[in-house]
Symmetry: D2
Subunit: 299 residues, 4 copies
């Protein structure tokens, strides 16, 4: 399959490499071209522009935020340079980054009008999981398009969950999942601040949790980062965590669903950014409860 | 081993039965005697008083709250009727209910003065786990006492975690664990209110979570209760959830550790109790986000 | 002075009438023309379009939200129809509604480029204060423009506060003021839920507060509405309250200032809207604490 | 009138001096005797013990917290040394400090049984208001007792509000009032962090607020402290603020009234105490929002 791939950050570069490894033709584009060169050494074709990368059966975008996806999809100053206009008829745009429900709806409408296909397929997993092709893919869109995109999902992930016919559904599920991860970081941070200040060994405490009711990757991964206070280099930087919590709050505003834990997380991330933690991993959020209890700041 | 057992509620009755099944002599006491009769049919000896039950190598208490434990331990109006005074020298009092850090400290001091031993050994698990001898035991106290109490732990649980020499440590860990469970209920309730109002199937959503990062008993158990809206009969009633959150907040006050998620949970439990949910399972807390978003109240 | 006036809602109609009463020529425009007719009977000239109303020394906009102001200022589909393009050179656009800091900045830049002037001058006061020309005006912008706009402020308000040279400053101050009002509604609502459930008379309680430390209009006005449970017809509807709290949160995100009370208010307003209170006065927010404590819902 | 006065802190010493100035006989007791000596120079009789001070028509207690009041009232180790046992029949105990609803109920019951009278009469005002006899008194109790206590209230305050027949009512109203003050400190602190970080002058901002809707002593007093960042010496120390917020939360738990702003304040005070602010005035709470936004800590 000929696959355009746009966005070669930590996550995207690993995903594109796995598509190559699975035997696909990958035409790669990135705003800063060095990253394209690195991938070209693994066999990818370097695209000069979004329009170049758009000439494919499937185009995957893995970009930082809504703004970046909008620019790539709609072409910024020149709509003809955007994916929506440039993709061949019936080609499929797979958006794998975490985008807002609102943008997912607008992309679905624009691609439909341009007679392309749009599938929202955000992924769960940090860069190590992306490198190992162990991501979890959450996909939604027209069933035929999702079906046709399956080889892509198989190459990058360990399992795909189809959650509906509307592309926005996958975006919302992904957003809610990141909200749940952040809520684990916060509550685990509070629990560790509490038992830690009483002298309980945090490593042992985490082992107890993850041997019993909390035996899940989310507790092992983020609990481990909290115990080790290992917040740099970031696997997923704090500003991205704030972005995703804001997407959850924004979806809640649209649907009129109050999210008090989400609101707390928003304020926590702002605190983290305002006090020097803007370049830390988002798990540093979980060090703020101890900071408020008198321990040093994580930054 | 001769074991006094005081407190035959849902949890205690199952634990005492497993002690019998493991071949121990159990002398059981409960404030309402019918429950003692039921256990006597399984081979227990009925005690007429706390003082009677205290004549043992080990005495386990499994009672509703601090007040109940205090009355049993210190005898209420007549100190001579309490465990502390009535237990033989060197006998071990194992407190398996969730008690405050403060009470754990007072019990440790009182038993030390009376030349008894005190081990705090609260358990994780709902009544079905208690019946199956699958509880997780968190124990702390003098090493020799904890060692001597091991046969009791083995009979009621699947694994024991020793978290320190101070009995209050196990109480704090248990309190923090219940806080973490409640925080999962709340955040999962918020996430489900969000995706549910957008039309995503909750059962499918839960399967996605528990197949990926959230593959842990706490998400399966409480997520399942939330999907099924199955809040009655209560496995662990809402007022007990409030009690435990208050214990966490109180420990935080003592240690000067703010717990914003804990504060939210406190307010949520009060709302649940004030709006007719006092007899529901504590997982009904997770239905309040949807209620605030316009869905019916869980009660 | 020739004054264009755009937006004749509860507030705007009263302000325009006071401008007429002060002897100014008012050219009025409103999307639904009936309201223009009513004002024309008091002496105003009816404008057929924004462009018509723009032919003046000063143009006041008093519109519902950022979207409405953007459309009027930038003309929507046809930029030539917007205020920015249509106003004569050196004319002054006074924005009196509560708009975002971001929009205030964009308007200031656009008007500067078009060689007009822009003053942000939001007002504090409910419709009765607008009718009585007793508003408080918070103004910021280039000193000469603010000076030139003074006759307008004098006609509609009892006092004007100039808070800086940047138009966005007045918007931020106004947003923060509405945040403070909403926080009074919430905290007073909590206090009244507490003492009210204990049997203390709420009217007497409010008198005590407003005779002592809390002797301020904000407590008298909103406390009175809470005591009387008088939430309809709305003086300032709940969705507008939500809008303003979101503006405060959004300004905080831009500046990286966490606002936990603001977050609570956001969630409260969403609850109010999701549970049937969307047409109530925003003071109904203060009835939610009692609702959560078991009292009937205000809607 | 012969008045026993127990508790000569910042507030109590000033109140007792005003009772002397009004011509009453004051028999003063304080745990540390130096403060009694200072008052004796103004004409008071020094009492050697609580029992001594209890020999009066009226006994006023102005003590730090529930524990101190309990010890004085019930005599600690020796009940005969407590006020309840030692006061003559029909004498009136006036409790002027902020005590819990629960303790107010227990004191009312105990005095009734001992055939004394009990009036709860907490006061609003900081030490300067106490010195100027400008306190506001909130009183409740049996009407005859409140009537008989009026000369005391007149000597220390500018106005007395009678809020019911149950002594606990005045305690609850006072607790709720301190909650409202703390909520003003918090929300004003958030608003100032927001506008201050944007460059608005805080002094000017406060003048705007207190000239308009927020024209009340609570905004002038606490806003002034926040603008000046004048948190030491404390007029009312942070740990007392925490104590009072906990009394509000505790009253809410008893009545099943959730208080989310109260919960936020609790966590804020814990943060303040845990990060070195334990000796600051409670208004330092309002500096924490700016601290979380990157400004220096107030301690």
């Amino acid at each position: 399959m000929r696959i355009g791939f746009i966005g070669l950050g930590n996550m995207g570069a690993a995903m594109a490499a796995n598509l190559l490894a699975a035997g696909h033709d990958v035409v790669a584009y990135n705003r800063s071209p060095q990253k394209v060169a690195a991938l070209a050494e693994q066999g990818a074709t370097a695209a000069e522009s979004v329009r170049d990368a758009a000439q494919a059966d499937v185009v995957v975008t893995m970009l930082a935020d809504d703004n970046a996806v909008e620019t790539v999809a709609f072409g910024g100053a020149d709509p003809a340079e955007g994916l929506v206009a440039a993709m061949p008829a019936d080609a499929i745009h797979i958006s794998s980054s975490t985008i807002s429900v609102d943008l997912a709806k607008r992309l679905a409408a624009a691609h439909a009008e341009a007679r392309n296909q749009f599938v929202s397929a955000p992924v769960f997993g940090r860069p190590d999981a992306a490198a190992a092709a162990k991501l979890f893919v959450v996909a939604s869109g027209a069933p035929a398009a999702v079906e046709a995109a399956t080889p892509v999902f198989d190459a990058i992930g360990q399992r795909t969950f189809v959650v509906g016919d509307e592309p926005s559904a996958a975006s919302l599920v992904k957003i809610s999942g990141n909200f749940l991860i952040a809520s684990v970081i916060e509550s685990l941070g509070e629990a560790m601040a509490l038992v830690g200040k009483a002298g309980v060994d945090k490593q042992q405490y985490l082992e107890l949790l993850t041997s019993t009711l909390f035996d899940a990757p989310v507790y092992r991964t983020y609990g481990g980062l909290l115990v080790d206070e290992q917040f740099t280099p970031p696997g997923f930087a704090a500003p991205l965590g704030l972005k995703d919590v804001k997407l959850a709050l924004s979806a809640g505003e649209e649907l009129r669903v109050p999210l008090p834990v989400g609101s707390l997380l928003r304020d926590r991330f702002l605190t983290l950014l305002a006090t020097g933690g803007g370049e830390l991993d988002w798990s540093a959020l979980g060090a703020l409860p101890a900071w408020e209890a008198g321990a040093p700041h994580p930054a």
